[in-house]
């Protein structure tokens, strides 16, 4: 007959295991069901290119200092400093070994929308899947097709340089449990189709909130502060508030916002600076109707 002590130990072990199991169930990589990526047909490469520019893929994945056509070679290798360590941007070119040329649509789509890598592992949210999660399966399919149409690069990017505990991928599951959310960032009642299009572009592929929304110590967005700006996560300086209540751009008209995204010039002909230079150049590839939708949405986002 087992002693009381043994029973207690056994109970603790069972409860502990159940707890761990529960924690694992809550934080395990969670890909989309297979059917999510089925029957999408051949990709529309022209739309894929639009998503490519809206998503700013080249901003991180092109080689450091790339310009012109080189922006379409997704060789990776840039370093992205952060409060959690330095991330090294991977190769997502069409190369079958070094890039994503050998991936299936489901593997690509789960990376984009669930932060799950090709081996079923968690990806770090420095890759902004928290935003890309909003992409429609069609847009993901078109983008995947477009990326595979771009040149291959055999460059092998170094691994991330992260201190403990951020170097433990399993911990990303906890971050996702706390902060991963593919619902709307702001509830806009009676939004026009134009504003909804802007919301899709800004909250989804554009991933504007990744820099323009302040974060807490664990890297989650502060509640009620969507797009209200904050310290620059990549280093010195501040990222401006871009809501309707912004001191920086609240007074701009929608036309002036469109013109800024198109040309890089503010209404008083100051010019864009820092990381926004690349972002603006990417966004400028979008059709004017999309730029107008972005402006209409930004005007609809409440200020602090």
């Amino acid at each position: 007959m087992a002693s009381t002590f043994t029973k207690i130990v056994a109970a603790v072990v069972v409860v502990g295991a159940a707890g761990l199991g529960g924690a694992y169930a809550l934080t395990a990589p969670d890909p989309q069901p297979e059917s999510h990526w089925a029957n999408l047909g051949g990709p529309d490469l022209a739309n894929g290119e639009q998503i490519f520019w809206a998503g700013g893929c080249a901003g991180c994945h092109a080689a450091p200092g790339a310009e012109g056509d080189a922006l379409k070679i997704m060789s990776g290798g840039r370093a992205l400093p952060s409060n959690f360590g330095t991330f090294h941007i991977p190769n997502i070119s069409s190369d079958a070994q070094a890039g994503i040329g050998g991936w299936t649509l489901a593997q690509f789509g789960n990376a984009m929308t669930r932060g799950v890598g090709p081996k079923g592992e968690h990806l770090y949210p420095s890759f902004p899947y928290g935003s890309y999660a909003r992409l429609s399966p069609k847009d993901v399919n078109d983008l995947f097709g477009y990326l595979k149409s771009l040149p291959a690069s055999s460059n092998v990017a170094p691994g991330h340089d992260l201190p403990f505990p951020f170097n433990i991928r399993l911990a990303v599951g906890g971050w996702k449990f706390l902060y991963f959310d593919d619902g709307p960032r702001v509830e806009l009642t009676n939004a026009s189709d134009q504003v909804k299009r802007g919301q899709y572009l800004v909250e989804g592929p554009g991933h504007c909130g990744e820099c323009h929304t302040p974060r807490n110590a664990l890297g989650g967005f502060e509640a009620g502060a969507w797009l209200t700006g904050g310290p620059n996560p990549e280093g010195e300086g501040r990222i401006p508030d871009i809501t309707s209540g912004s001191e920086a751009i609240g007074a701009w008209s929608e036309d002036e916002i469109v013109n800024y995204l198109e040309t890089g010039f503010t209404p008083d002909f100051d010019s864009v600076g820092g990381s926004m230079v690349e972002v603006q150049k990417n966004i400028a590839h979008l059709p004017k109707s999309d730029l107008e939708a972005i402006a209409a949405y930004l005007k609809a986002v409440p200020g602090k």
Binding site: N232, E236, G237, R238, I239, P240, T263, G264, F265, D268, F269, D270, S271, V272, G273, G274, S275, V277, E278, Q280, K281
Partner: protein, 146 residues
């Protein structure tokens, strides 16, 4: 005679104050940046046909851009890294030769446009695209937003 002396003294004092104020490199370079911005605005008004084509206005704008850009290399001396709300990035002082080259390129390109001065709206638009891109190229690395 007394009045004249007084006036001269007043003028000298004003100039003295003026130059003392302008001698702060942070303030000087900010004025230069703003002058370029205003010149780009003048060119844009013509490019967008909000104002009629005006060869003199185009010339003035290009001359201002050239002169302001060529002054930049001397307006970021060691010791002026901070203060006066400067948005200058520390990278300017880490890589002064590249910064200088970029500023002088803008000056040279403005001179080149001036030498074959635009004669119509399309020409002004081309000039804006050439010179405007250089604003962003330099600011990407060398300007911090505060």
């Amino acid at each position: 005679m007394y009045i004249k002396t007084l006036a001269a003294t007043a003028v000298a004092l004003c100039l003295g104050f003026g130059s003392a104020f302008a001698a702060e490199p942070q303030v000087e370079r900010q004025a230069g940046m703003k002058a370029i911005g205003a010149s780009m605005g003048a060119l844009a008004a013509i490019a967008k046909e909000q104002k009629p084509f005006d060869a003199e206005a185009v010339k003035t704008a290009l001359t201002t851009i050239s002169a302001s850009a060529k002054a930049f290399p001397d307006q970021f001396p060691v010791g002026s890294e901070t203060g006066h709300d400067t948005e200058a990035s520390p990278k300017i002082w880490e890589n002064p030769s590249d910064f200088r080259a970029k500023a002088l390129k803008l000056g040279a390109d403005a001179d080149a446009v001036l030498a074959a001065a635009p004669t119509d709206v399309a020409g002004v638009m081309n000039a804006m695209q050439t010179l405007g891109a250089e604003c962003g190229q330099c600011h990407q690395t060398y300007r911090l937003k505060r």
